[in-house]
Each structure stands twice: as C-alpha cells, then as structure tokens.
Symmetry: C2
DNA sequence: TCAATAGTGTCTATTAGACAGTATACC
DNA sequence: GGTATACTGTCTAATAGACACTATTGA
C-alpha cells in the first residue's frame, strides 16, 4: 500500500514538530486513540450478480429468447426468514469493501475475477430490523457459459431469477418553483413457480436550486429488506451503462454472434433495436472470426469476439 | 417510513408460522439479537463542495475568468494535524448517511437544501490511521451568490481552494489478453499562498473477462488521508456528468448570461468550446429574460434563467 | 474609433433511424 | 420451396464542428 508508506513518511516528518492541543505527537495520539467509545453501524455488501440465459424454444428455426437473470438466496434465518435476498454479508474490519464483495462472489456464485462495480451505498436507519446496517451494493456481470453449476444449486438455496423491470406509471406535477416527477416501477423476479414482485416509487423533485431523487418501496412480495429498491437501482444503472460503455460484453461468451449481442442489448434496454444501426454502432468493439454458427434452421451467423482495444487512444 | 410499516406487516404475517432452526419467531429473534459481538468499522461522510468563483480582472473590458473551487478544512487535530482535508464527519447510528451529509453541509458551509449526490464509498483498510474507517463521499454544488460568508471564514479554518486537474501522463501497455491503461493525474489546490499538490495514478486493466480500475496516490502534499484520490474521482465525475445532465446550473446564480454558463462548462471540462454549438446545445435548458448585463466595456449580454422543464416527458 | 464580447447563419461531416432488399442455411 | 435469420445499401433526419460575419457597448 503506497498510501500507508506515504502516511508513515508524513508521520515521521510531522512527529518532530506537530503537537496537538494536548501536547501529543501524532504517534502518541494514535496510540491512545480508542475507537470503541463511539457507537458504530454494521457494514455489509450486497451483490447484484447478473447473467443472461437462453429461454427454451420449441421451434427449431427460431432463435432462443434471452432473459436477464439475477442471483438470489433464500434466507434461512430471521429476519425475513424464507424470503429471497441478494447475496451478501458483513464486511470485516480487516478487509476492504471490495475484498468483501469478491469474497461473497466467490462463496455464493463460485466466481472469481470478473466484472464488478460499486453501485451505491444504502444508509437509511431502519433498513435492517436487527441493527443499524449500512450496505454497499456491487453489480457483477457474468457470462452464463463461465458459470459454475454450483451457483443455483438447490442445496444452497441460491437461484437465478428472471428480472423484469417495467414502468407502470409516470406522473409530472408542476410546482411553483419547478416540478415533481414520479415514476412507479414494477419489478418481477421469476424462477419456475416462484414469483416475487415489488413496486418501487421514484420521486424526482426539482425546486429552485435543488434536485432530489428518492426511492421508496411501495410493496414488496417475497423480497427481503429493501432489496427491491436496490434491484431497481441496479437495473437502471445497467441500462444506462450499456448504452455508453462496453459492459455488455461481460455477459457474453468469448465467441458470439451479433444477433445474440443485439438480443442482450434488447433484453436489458427493454426495447427492440434496428439491426443495421446496431451493427454500425457495435462494429468497432468487436473483431470478426472465421467461424460460423451451425445447425440453425436458417442462414448461419458469423462469430465475433470482443475487441478490448476498441477505445480511442 | 413506508418500509418500516411494510416490515411490520410482514413480521406479523410470518410470526405465526415462521420459526427458525432454534424455534424462534422473528420477534423473539430480534429481541435476542446482539449486534455488539461483531467488530464494526466506523463510517464517515466526506463532502466535496464545489463552487465557481470569478477571478479578478484588471482590464475593464475583459470578462473575469472563472475558477472551480473546492472547500477544504485545516485539520486542528491528529492525525494529519495542520494538513487540509475534505469537510466531513462520523455518521451516527441514529441518522442516515444522507442526513449526516446534510448536517455536515450545514455545519461546514452553512448551506441547506442544495444539490448533493453520493459519489463513491471508500473502504480500503488502511485509509485512516486511527481505526477502520469507511467513508461515503458526496458531491455538493453551490452557486457562489447563495453562499454564506461564514464558509471560508478564517476563524473556521475553512477555505476555498482553486482546483486544477491535469492529465500528466498516459500510458497503454498491450498484454496478451487485453491491455493496461495508466493515467497519471496531477491535482493542484490553491488558496492565495497555500498550495497543495497531489499525484494520482489510475490504472485500468482489461484482461479477458475482467475490467478493473484502481486509483493510487503517488504523492500528496498538504492533503490529509486519501483525499487526493477522492478529489480526483469527484472532478472526473463532475466532468462526465456536466456533459449529459443539467448539474452545471447548480453552480449558476438565478440569472446568468450564456457566456458565463459557457465559461463554467469550459473551466470544468478543461477545454474551450465553440459558442455557436454550445448555445444550440444549451438552448432547451434555459429561458431568456428581458434583462441584460450593464456596464461592460462591450456589447451587453442577455440574462437567462434555468428552465426546469427542459427534459423530455 | 476600437477592443472585447454577444449573437447568428450556414456549410460540412458525422451519426442515428428507417426500411427495403439480398443472402443462405436447414427441414 | 419455405421459413427464419443474417447482413448490406441507401435515403433521410438530426446533431456537432468550424468559421465567418454582424451587432453593440463604454471608454
């Protein structure tokens, strides 16, 4: 750790001269420092592990539909016993948040070394009935083919749920000094017979100099804690980022067709795209190979590979 | 709190049926729950309060230049005694992170009700020499004219520093399975004779399925903790967001000229813009008034106002 | 008058959207 | 041959960049 090294140097330099109002040097101060006098919150990480599945298709000619999937764990303990929650756990004082997130990823989904990004830190007072819990949410994207079967194993009570995110209602109210914009989102999570549903209300208030966005759970069936809110947030972020970054490729296998890639974009964005425009846009990010798909009831498709050097420099 | 209400309903429903492996109901479990058995980190908020100042101009004809300013506090205690730090403080267990951030904003800069946004939560183990501290950083944007003189008051040891963010070096190394991209950024913070400087190295590694970005402080003069890293991150975020959102208007007074607005964009983006294109782009976000600037040594400029309804719905 | 800024018109290059039209496998 | 997907060409609309040109003030 460079910082620590640098810290030590600074400490050495200041030690000679700098004494605080109690006449203590920094070293003396730190030796006496007792952190236990303040009451502290617990800190957890919540992992949003997304992947994309192919849905079964009866017609041999048709391409299988894609679906966005999220990994959830059935709670075996109070609170919210029996309900479904995001995988996650407490951050120990001896590991970074990032390390805790990696650890959870490894233990819940048996995945190492994949795309992971911090989303948001949730810090409302009442969000966990046990005690004050602050939670950092991380989004991870996995390609289905690299997934270990262990994840989603019944014994573990971890399952992949198909995620649907629909705008149910939009309302705009003009205020004297701006306006209020309210969106009601329905989140549905589906695994075979298990169906979880939640409604989240997002309120954006713009008045004068302020802009404030707040998320509120209106209803949550089968989902533990405030996880409906976190899932809603994550899907929005995924949707935004897929438009201007290359994160979608983390959901793809090493070789893929442009139609498959387009399907992934479509299922995340929740709308259809025009093939010609999509191909133009995506072209610099991929490299074509000489391989083709086979055994489809239609024209074979060229296989592509992600081009990690597509970005301008 | 809607969530709490909902929580209680769920609790009532499950109480009758659901017992955990120890035969406890949720209520019984929660009554016995002892959070104190786990060692917990401290949680703080760090505020990045930005504003824009006019620099003095000797030539009466010339427009004053704009500069991006950040509020820093001189540390009166160990650790980093005498160095400059972001305003901030511990999050109490009885307030949300957001509330803690609002409270800091009020106490350090005497500002209420302004634009504020969570940036990132920093959770490395060694980032605070006192104890394990996890810190959520929030960015706040203030318009200079609405600022209370109290902020920047000498007695408080809070000062506005001009922020400069320069890319010093860029390096790309091609690896077998992707590449590594390294950027070295120099941050300078300036208040009259006080000059703080820091160098931050940002490494982006893209190999196979992974993409990992890490920030490291190479050197930090006069800046406490890992705040150089946080400042660097905030400036980048501000730069990105100004391009596709309307946050720049939080830095403007109620009435402003398009030239002033363009100057603000330029100082944040660190590059010059073409007036014609800028005006086209910004046009839907503003409403013109009938007022003009006066007493300039040149053609007066029309005053505009932010149009909170510019967004498409 | 002139220095400096304010503001507009227009040509060009680039990009996104729309859609028709051609290509090609497998049953 | 027919079905379903793969892939390309081209017209159009919208947008960003470049730059010249006109407008207007106070000293």
């Amino acid at each position: 750790m460079l910082l620590t090294k640098q810290k030590q140097q600074v400490a050495k330099m200041t030690e000679i001269i700098m004494r605080d109002r109690n006449g203590l040097t920094e070293r003396e101060f730190l030796q006496k420092y007792d952190a236990s006098i303040y009451e502290r919150p617990s800190v957890t990480v919540d992992m949003l592990i997304f992947t994309v599945f192919d849905k079964d298709q009866d017609n041999y000619r048709k391409l299988p539909e894609k679906s966005l999937q999220l990994l959830l764990i059935k709670r075996g303990e109070h609170p919210y016993l029996g309900q479904w929650a995001l995988p996650g756990g407490f951050v120990s004082v001896r590991e970074s948040i990032e390390e805790a997130a990696q650890r959870e990823l490894k233990s819940e989904a048996n995945i190492e070394n994949l795309y992971m990004e911090q989303l948001f830190t949730w810090g409302d007072v009442g969000r966990d009935p046990r005690t004050r819990v602050i939670s950092s949410s991380y989004m991870a994207l996995v390609d289905r083919t690299s997934l270990d079967v262990k994840a989603g194993d019944d014994a573990e009570d971890a399952r992949w749920f198909e995620v649907k995110h629909q705008v149910f209602q939009e309302k705009k109210t003009v205020l004297e000094d701006g306006y209020e914009f309210e969106r009601i989102i329905k989140i549905t999570l589906n695994h075979e017979t298990e169906l979880l549903a939640a409604t989240v209300k997002i309120t954006t208030m713009i008045t004068g100099r302020t802009r404030r966005v707040s998320r509120e759970i209106v209803e949550s069936q089968g989902l533990a804690f405030d996880h409906a809110k976190i899932i809603e947030y994550a899907v929005e972020r995924l949707r935004n980022k897929i438009e201007y970054t290359d994160i979608a490729f983390h959901l793809m296998p090493p070789l893929f067709t442009l139609s498959e890639l387009q399907q992934v974009y479509e299922v995340i964005l929740g709308k259809e795209l025009l093939a010609a425009a999509f191909r133009r846009k995506i072209a610099p990010m991929v490299t074509e190979t000489n391989e083709f798909t086979k055994d489809a009831g239609h024209r074979p498709s060229k296989l592509y590979r992600f081009n990690p050097n597509w970005e301008n420099i």
